[in-house]
Symmetry: C2
């Protein structure tokens, strides 16, 4: 058994208080005696972010390029102690033997350096994992896809291609990263003042483009945002950012330059509340301020769910007198790292796989991939839409979905604790939408009577003020209406109190707060 | 004083438990002795949804077209008793005198029937409110913009154009509604089974297109979704839907037809959890089910913030075997009801206003509108980016922003109660993200000691199970450490208990639940 990539995903808007979502690793942990290695195709969060949680349980080595391992180390150091000897650097052309399998990384273009397809040699031929990919013929780092090796393993025999399908909805070929360089050049020359560029902290190519065009146009580049500063640090150290002398300046020193001499790279492209750009847009960032005449370039694609927060940020930036460039037909300030439909077809054409398996995408992408592949002449039984927990079993004669294995998602809370349950989410949803009321009273179970007052405390409750007082009265009435024998039982009292309050608030005020009886026996 | 439109907006993702957002009407209520009338340009929620709340406070008449008033009546009936004599029908060419002002509705094209610009005649010339508009030369209802009258008042003198700017980011001209008819025709002919179309319940033109093309292609149309059924009912009654005999069938009767004879119009285009289509995608809609071979057309634009819910719905529909058409370059299944940049310029060209005021859009649209207008030769002092509460005062000599009046947003909760406060939202956010813990104990203030046990109840709390027990122990310790005199004061006990629990949970588990001490004196 080998693992290719161990990523995370982000919570949807119904997952209150959840920071990240990781896979349920139960199946892997139970079968770890078979596990020979973890191979990482590239350093994006959705491919490496689950590693700290997986490595806490399993002991096998992690293979990837020097660069990807450096990015992983910088992430892992925050979360766990890790024996650095577990991280094994590999490079294109290497072959790692793992029991009956062997794995060979093959260079491919994507939006982060040193992305690798993983060609897994099996008894039935290669299973080729494309990783996230596009065919960019003018990539920022000039490192081209190893098309020769891809066609070669195609000739040797690919039994199954496990393909990225993210952009299968988009017809044609995606634009090259070099398009963005052209757009940057135009903006850098024309912008009257400072230029702020926001992108993902991992988008090293985009940062390189900013540094390159800044040097061309006589600008200096500073970085605002912790994670981005870390990335720039690692990449500069490892030679993955090619900087002209003096182009890099500290954010603290930007006051020494005039606005038209400056570019500031910043985090916040997804409208994250604590990011540098969003804080700037609220005038809450202590290290710099947005000023009239600034040009802000949004060089990223919104992750679905973040759109509203992004638009709010852009509106605030405009209101502060900045000009914001976010969509620029004809001169794009962002291009996707994932190939469009013709590129996805080209991968099939190069590698001539017998079976196709659609991964990395959502059900709609897999469906469209299937339709596309059928259009290329693939019969239905040779195309598989992969689903979590459904193993694809390839034998000499056929490929079929095997018996489902244990799988699922594990929600990690804001404190880093995995395992937020459905019940907790339901309660949070109720609390978020309707608030809550705590009803405190003490009963003397021996005498069967209330001791002291009934007290109501509300939080996140939007009803009229006097509703609490009237609710308390209704509760008194309900308790007065109870038989003496019932008052000896605190559970009955608890139930009556909660039930009375819920019904009254619902009927009178159409409110459904969570009602928590705090009944104490004295 | 007159009012043009009284809309609502929708909560953003930070407004937990908020159903709708309406304007703060304080200024209007305080000045209602001046109020001569409310004019409604068209029946979309963002132009009429605030009416029930406004009409509860002010007594003036409401003027609009017969159709718009019928839509308003259907909404108001749910929320309030309204004297029908307050609703005054007007039609293009009418002029309503309101003190020193007079108001004339002028027909314009948009995505709902009988949309009207409002030309307000003042001593200084016309102030023209465009309403939401596009220039559609082949509208579904064949009712064209009254370009003649617009140019005429342009000649008579428009002192200020108050313009929709929603699509000012989009260059060129927007496509006509007739493009959608063409796309529907193609899909209706080719789809192998049933066709489901989801759009806004108020998008009557879109529904008309479905009925028309269904009749052409031998299909029947049923409606799933309460609000949409109401709209179809009103429109059929008033002659705003032109239906071939027998094309309309009941949802209960769809079993009588074969799949390729059916079209189903349905709500849910924004991924609303309780809508018909979303319930179908969860197999929770009792009146019909999605089946393999169905084609679902998403004929609406996502409102920012709804994207994630919409994609989840689309993915579920694909997984159920349906084909979903949502973006269709070349054959659009939706077009915007708002004109693109050249249309917005054409409005300026027709009406030749002296001043321009950008409304209906966000700050970014107003900024781009200003840049666009400057490009047409308007000097900066003749362009105004309107903001809530900032009155534009036009005198004989100049137009300037006047002193800010009281304004704001009022949040209406799920029960229909207006006035959800910032404090309530903060508490809800805390509860949603971190849950809460109620700590119940009774103290005998005379003796200065705890009576009975300390009880902890948690809701929406994601920490480990034993954390509650250890927290209780830490609280016991803290109380034991209090001086006897402090135990006579329940406020001090309350403070100590909450503070101890908060610090312990934060430090030990990195958890920050809301802590509510329920301390009762006995």
């Amino acid at each position: 058994m080998i693992i290719i990539d161990a990523g995370l995903s982000f919570p949807n808007e119904e997952m209150f208080g959840v920071d990240i979502v990781i896979p349920d690793f139960t199946y892997i942990i139970e079968n770890q005696h078979k596990l020979r290695g973890i191979f990482i195709t590239h350093a994006h969060e959705d491919h490496v972010g689950g590693l700290p949680y997986l490595l806490a349980h399993v002991k096998c080595p992690v293979y990837s390029t020097e660069f990807t391992l450096a990015m992983i180390r910088s992430k892992l150091e925050e979360k766990m102690d890790l024996d650095p000897r577990r991280l094994k650097p590999i490079k294109p052309g290497d072959v790692v033997e793992c029991g009956s399998l062997s794995v060979e990384p093959i260079r491919i273009t994507h939006s982060i350096p040193d992305t690798m397809c993983m060609a897994v040699k099996t008894d039935h031929g290669y299973v080729l994992f494309t990783a996230d990919f596009k065919f960019d013929f003018s990539p920022v780092d000039r490192k081209l896809t190893d098309i020769g090796r891809l066609t070669q393993i195609g000739q040797e025999g690919v039994v199954c291609l496990v393909s990225d399908t993210t952009n299968v909805e988009r017809p044609g070929w995606g634009p090259s990263e070099s398009k963005v360089t052209d757009s940057f050049r135009k903006v850098f020359k024309e912008a009257p003042g400072r230029i702020l560029i926001t992108t993902f902290a991992s988008n090293i190519h985009r940062m390189q483009q900013a540094y390159t065009v800044a040097a061309e146009t006589g600008r200096r580049v500073a970085v605002a945002g912790r994670r981005m500063e870390q990335t720039v640090e690692i990449c500069t150290r490892m030679g993955y950012l090619d900087l002209e002398p003096n182009v890099r300046v500290k954010l603290e020193d930007i006051g020494k330059y005039s606005p038209e001499e400056l570019v500031i790279l910043t985090t916040g492209s997804q409208g994250e509340p604590m990011s540098a750009l969003v804080q700037m847009s609220r005038e809450e960032y202590s290290r710099m301020r947005v000023q009239p005449g600034d040009t802000v370039i949004y060089s990223a694609r919104p992750i679905p769910g973040n759109e509203a927060a992004i638009w709010r940020t852009i509106n605030r930036l405009f209101s502060m007198g900045a000009n914001v460039i976010y969509e620029n037909p004809g001169a794009p300030v962002h291009v996707s790292g994932h190939g469009y439909q013709e590129e996805i077809k080209m991968m099939i054409n190069l590698t001539k796989p017998y079976y196709l398996a659609a991964v990395h995408g959502e059900p709609r992408h897999h469906h469209i991939y299937q339709t596309m592949a059928e259009g290329m002449g693939y019969p239905e039984h040779r195309i598989f839409q992969m689903r979590d927990g459904k193993p694809l079993e390839i034998s000499e004669k056929e490929a079929v979905f095997g018996e489902e294995v244990e799988f699922g998602r594990v929600l990690v809370d804001n404190g880093g604790n995995p395992g937020v349950s459905d019940e907790v989410l339901r309660d949070r949803s109720n609390l978020a939408n309707d608030g809550m009321i705590v009803i405190t009273l003490a009963i003397d179970v021996d005498k069967g009577e209330i001791v002291g007052d009934i007290e109501l405390q509300a939080r996140g409750y939007s009803g009229p003020e006097d509703a609490l007082r009237t609710t308390a009265e209704v509760i008194y009435d309900a308790i007065r209406g109870m038989r003496k024998s019932e008052l000896h039982d605190s559970d009955t009292v608890r139930h009556t109190v909660a039930d009375t309050a819920r019904k009254f608030l619902g009927k009178r005020y159409r409110l459904r707060p969570m009602v928590i009886p705090a009944v104490i026996e004295v």
